[in-house]
Amino acid sequence: MAVVTLQVNDTTVAVPAGVPLLQALAAAGVALPTLCHHPRLSPVAACRLCLVELEGASRPLPACVTAAAEGQRLRTDTPALQAGRRLIVELLFAEGNHPCAVCVANGDCELQDAARHVGMDLVSVPYRHPSRQVDASHPLFLLDHHRCILCSRCVRVCDEIEGAHVWAMANRGSATRLIAGLDQPWGTVDSCTSCGKCVAVCPTGALVAREDVPLGRWPTP
């Protein structure tokens, strides 16, 4: 496999040709927040938090899908990138309902990590306080739409690894919503194998294990 060298900020690193630039960032010891990316899943480049500036490119590119090539020079820390990253995280906090203090994922949440990473101390865009639902129909797990950031990791893990295709997105724009089956209560979706992979990859507290089901008492379908 060909190996290429490229520059991340001011560090030169070597990585296999064609790998996502995220690997080059890791080699350079630069961490960026990533919300839609998951190393085992196909990339979608949807959260836009991993954008980097590539010399010669007309606009910033997502490091999670952009292929490493010889001689690239990239920057991860320009004022425009930092401002953009922060505003994107703020937009997420304003879009859903994320009162960390009363969230089960508090302290174990990638959205919280991203906020800390970008130095978010207040949200400058108006909170939208959407009215959303909780789907508690599944015997083992819970889906709280208020906390969903629509990263689509659950959709991909269920499709690409479990092969059950339980999840999909419905509607568009700010009305976009995660749906189970044919937009039905999760607990009524026959194809769900209760494997829990979606819960495992969810970056926030949107998909969680129910606390009222004692371990070892998993109902059999």
Partner: protein, 544 residues
């Protein structure tokens, strides 16, 4: 096509969506009935449904071809039919025709075909639109349909066709202005694998109806262009994606595909080259974003119309991973005329950097709304003032025009002071607007620019596919902030936030929808900032 004195007397009735909405159906019925029962005096004029006759605001339009000359009438009703047929049949109405009140009433409907609106047009894409019967293959063939395809198959290699298109300097008419020849080479020169071609007829920009007019006016022209593109890049199969809101265009296109396949013009192997091309129709489901090329491909493949990050570009990996050429309908419909003239002659029309003609749909606050095809590089003023006549009752040097909106929700606004700007991709972009796909909306002084920006932002927020955060969550915030500004509840800090958000949405969104959604806002802020600042709440110093 005129055959001088031997030409039959014919009535070309515009049977496109615009004139149908204006009453062409009732007029056609009245004409048909009158012709049926018309008695036996002399040869009967032929009634021929045709595509857009351009001046949509004055519809229903009807052209009377008589003895090598042509007269255009607008706004006719069943009442004028007998008089019209009397003229068509050379029967002067009464002893002295000119004094006949019915004749004078008809004359009042006559449109001046020497008016700049018609005289300054340079029809190439639309050269057969309004002349041929879009439902009749023989008529299309009589007007030269498929002749370039057959000539190229017999005399040119795919590489030669691509070279000719490169020479012409043609740039994509779908909005981005990407050089067509370059895109064709990119597809053709990929490693060996099947290739596909796609005609993009999603045309979602509000106020744009160029592509619809091509499809409704002469669908065979698009099919010929698409087949030529397929030959040039080595494709055997293609898709035509048309938005569901264009039922008449879909009906005519479908009929044209069937006709061309049955006649062996498409679908059968050319004896010399073995080239056979099969087009398939795909109908959209009402999403603006499906005009974006990667979303379009997802939609054709049967999935949700969601864009994906490029590269890889569709030219490298598109449908089923195959190199896929995507061109706009107008781009493809320009090819038959372009190849007939030759690349060099085409390149000589308009500015060197963006040659050729462009179709615009002119609407909004103007005397004459409709379809114009003009050379690139013509000034905005010529189109919206000289041709379209400016604002009805408008006074002053700018004809009452306040601004011209180009490019729909991804475009911008130019103030009247910049009306002398030549129309081309880079020129408009440098002024913060964009040519877009060809919608020109004329605005008069009653239009508040922040309201216009709010309107387009709300449109984009509603059409955002919801995949990426800056567009999904940023456009709604912008629309709400602009709403707040219109209600005079926004502060200077809110305006700052609007500008920051707009910049981030432009820079970080995944696809062209989000990247261009702030354009109407940014361009009106650039040219009409006072309209924003005068709506702000006064500063409250004790709060800061």
């Amino acid at each position: 096509m005129r055959d001088g004195e031997t030409a039959p007397v014919q009535l070309r009735l515009c049977d496109a969506s615009g004139c149908r909405a204006a009453g062409a159906g009732a007029l056609a019925a009245a004409l048909g009935a009158a012709l049926e029962g018309g008695g036996g005096q002399g040869p009967r004029p032929r009634l021929k449904p045709v595509g857009c006759l351009r001046l949509c605001s004055h519809g229903p339009l009807l052209a009377l071809d008589h003895g090598g000359a042509s007269a255009l009438y607008g706004g006719l009703t069943a009442e004028q039919v007998p008089t019209l047929l009397a003229i068509a049949c050379n029967h002067p109405g009464g002893h002295d025709g000119d004094r006949d009140p019915r004749r004078r009433a008809l004359e009042a409907h006559r449109l001046d075909s020497h008016h700049p609106f018609f005289a300054l047009q340079h029809p190439l894409v639309l050269e057969t639109c309004g002349l041929v019967d879009p439902t009749d293959l023989d008529d299309a063939l009589a007007h030269g349909a498929y002749r370039q395809l057959q000539r190229l198959l017999a005399t040119a290699t795919p590489a030669q066709v691509r070279a000719e298109v490169r020479r012409s300097g043609l740039r994509g008419r779908g909005g981005a202005g990407y050089p067509t020849g370059l895109k064709w080479d990119t597809v053709a020169l990929q490693p060996p694998a099947p290739r596909l071609v796609v005609a993009n007829g999603d045309e979602g920009d509000p106020g744009a109806f160029m592509d619809r007019s091509v499809l409704e006016g002469d669908p065979h022209r698009l099919l010929e262009g698409l087949a030529i593109a397929a030959y040039a890049v080595g494709a055997r199969h293609g898709y035509i994606y048309v938005r569901a809101e264009y039922p008449l265009a879909i009906e005519r296109l479908l009929r044209a595909v069937v006709q061309a396949m049955e006649r062996g013009l498409l679908g059968q192997a050319d004896p010399a080259t073995g080239f056979a091309f099969v087009p398939e129709l795909r109908v959209g489901a009402g999403a603006y974003v499906c005009g974006e090329e990667t979303a379009l491909l997802a939609s054709i493949a049967g999935g949700r119309g969601i864009p994906r990050q490029r590269p890889p570009f569709p030219a490298q990996a598109g449908l089923a991973g195959c190199p896929t050429l995507i061109n706009n309908i107008e781009t493809l419909a320009a090819l038959p005329a372009l190849l007939r003239m030759g690349g060099e002659a085409y390149a000589a029309i308009g500015p060197a950097a963006c040659p050729g003609t462009k179709v615009f749909s002119v609407s909004g606050s103007v005397v004459r709304t409709g379809l114009v095809e003009v050379p690139m590089g013509i000034s905005l003023r010529t189109v919206v003032q000289t041709m379209a006549g400016g604002v009805p009752g408008g006074i002053g040097a700018d004809g009452g025009i306040k601004a011209v909106q180009t490019g729909g929700p991804s475009g911008g606004c130019l103030p009247a002071a910049l009306l002398d700007t030549p129309i081309d991709y880079e020129g408009l972009r440098a002024l913060g607007s964009s040519l877009g796909s060809g919608g020109l909306v004329v605005l008069d002084h009653s239009c508040a620019m922040p309201e216009l920006a709010r309107h387009f932002m709300a449109f984009c927020a509603g059409e955002s596919c919801g995949k990426c955060i800056p567009c999904r969550a940023g456009t709604v915030q912008l629309a709400d902030l602009l709403e707040r500004l219109m209600q005079r509840r926004a502060t200077a800090a809110d305006l700052d936030l609007i500008e920051q958000l707009a910049a981030v949405v432009q820079r970080t969104s995944l696809c062209g929808l989000g990247q261009t959604a702030p354009n109407p806002l940014v361009s009106t802020l650039r040219h009409f900032r006072h309209e924003y600042s005068e709506r702000l709440l006064p500063d409250e110093p004790w709060l800061s």
